[in-house]
Symmetry: C2
Subunit: 244 residues, 2 copies
């Protein structure tokens, strides 16, 4: 497991059935990148306990922070709390501070089902944020965020403010060469400098003005510069159109 890495579990039949397009996953990827926290994987699962348990357990095996999106609420399709609890081997309990808050929020007219919002995996930490009545649930590195995009975004920032990271350095090379021609150079450099992530993306639209985009990325700028220098020297002359 990579220290300080993240994984995401997007819980949503509505995404898998294309009723809505998921905004939370892409937002999470961008914000983690800004913060320098590598995202190791993302899984979109239906609103089903078994699928959530599997995805959360697997996510915990590849990353130290796990973000879930969706499935928090009082209705029958809100099963994230139970899924996360099972994945962590913990009971679901009613938390007193949550219960007080739910009762205060709904007042006299509260339907009994609203109290499902007071349930969480045993030992859950509650993260409060001004202006939002329901807190973020956090248990063993798993952060349970709501699926509604505005709420997800707000609560994500609360969680990110607690985390450390080092933003990566990125250079992008635009080449006039085909992938097959550059493959042996990329192979050699990638093998010798495994700490640097080198990506190769062909462009088939001729009006783009280049044929392959190569990305070079690392938290260490010196390593990025070394790879860029080697690619410039070792690729066929004139092959590098520009570097950004």
């Amino acid at each position: 497991m990579e220290r300080g890495s993240a994984a995401a579990v997007i819980i949503g039949n509505e995404v898998l059935t294309a009723k809505v397009q998921d905004l939370n996953g892409p937002l999470l990827a961008r914000r983690l990148r800004d913060r320098g926290i590598p995202l190791r994987g993302m899984t979109i699962v239906p609103d089903e306990i078994d699928a959530i348990v599997e995805a959360v357990a697997h996510s915990r095996s590849i990353a130290s922070h796990v973000f879930t999106s969706g499935g928090i609420g009082p209705t029958h399709d809100d099963v994230t709390v139970r899924g996360v609890a099972l994945a962590l081997g913990r009971r679901v309990v009613r938390l007193e501070p949550l219960e007080r808050m739910v009762r205060a929020h709904y007042g006299e007219a509260m339907a009994p089902e609203a109290l499902r919002l007071a349930e969480a995996p045993e030992g859950t930490e509650l993260l409060w944020r001004e202006g939002i009545w329901y807190p973020i649930l956090h248990c063993e590195g798993v952060y349970l965020l709501p699926g509604v995009p505005q709420l997800f975004q707000h609560q994500l920032e609360v969680v990110l403010a607690r985390m450390e990271g080092a933003p990566p350095k990125l250079r992008t090379l635009y080449l006039s060469l085909e992938e097959a021609v550059i493959a042996h150079v990329l192979d050699r450099v990638a093998l010798e400098l495994p700490q640097v992530a080198i990506g190769s993306y062909p462009e088939f639209d001729r009006s783009a003005g280049y044929r392959v985009k190569v990305t070079v990325e690392s938290t260490q700028l010196a390593l990025v510069d070394e790879v860029v220098g080697r690619l410039k020297r070792e690729l066929p002359a004139g092959g590098v159109l520009r570097i950004e």
Copy 2:
């Protein structure tokens, strides 16, 4: 495993690092929905063999068709063929028809690395389509599609044309009620008619004119109508604002 169901594995460091937003996953979800093929899960993994093996193996355990996106090509980060082969317990071999095609495509000036495009899991079926020089690789229900969105889209249609499905029927109810108030009715109906997928989505923007959207979906229209009828009768009077 659900017959005729699908799962997706999106292979892309560029997606996880937010360099690009994945278009293929959402497109796949929409097109599968149009065709009536349920999408059971989607995983986004880095360009790493271990991650691909795990994701493909897991996808095969939950769905009969698996679509991969990305990681097809001649460079060091194109490891999908090897990942899929390992997940299927098959060797990677050079396929004669692929080799002929690659040699014809690149001609005299072919770099040796181009021949990586001639490799596939042993026993792979090649699906050809007019106007595209590289075929779709298909092996044991796993379809290896390219990550470039235009190519992904073209090749996806070739695959979908081979599959059968029954498009689902959907009705949407817009309610003036909060989720906590309707939860007991949804619970009861969902429990009694498990073949119908009922989704509940709160709306916190007051200008939307409703508080919860409830979706009712099944391949059988009669069941959808039955659930909609029960919700209209059993929810508090005046709670249903409109039905689409």
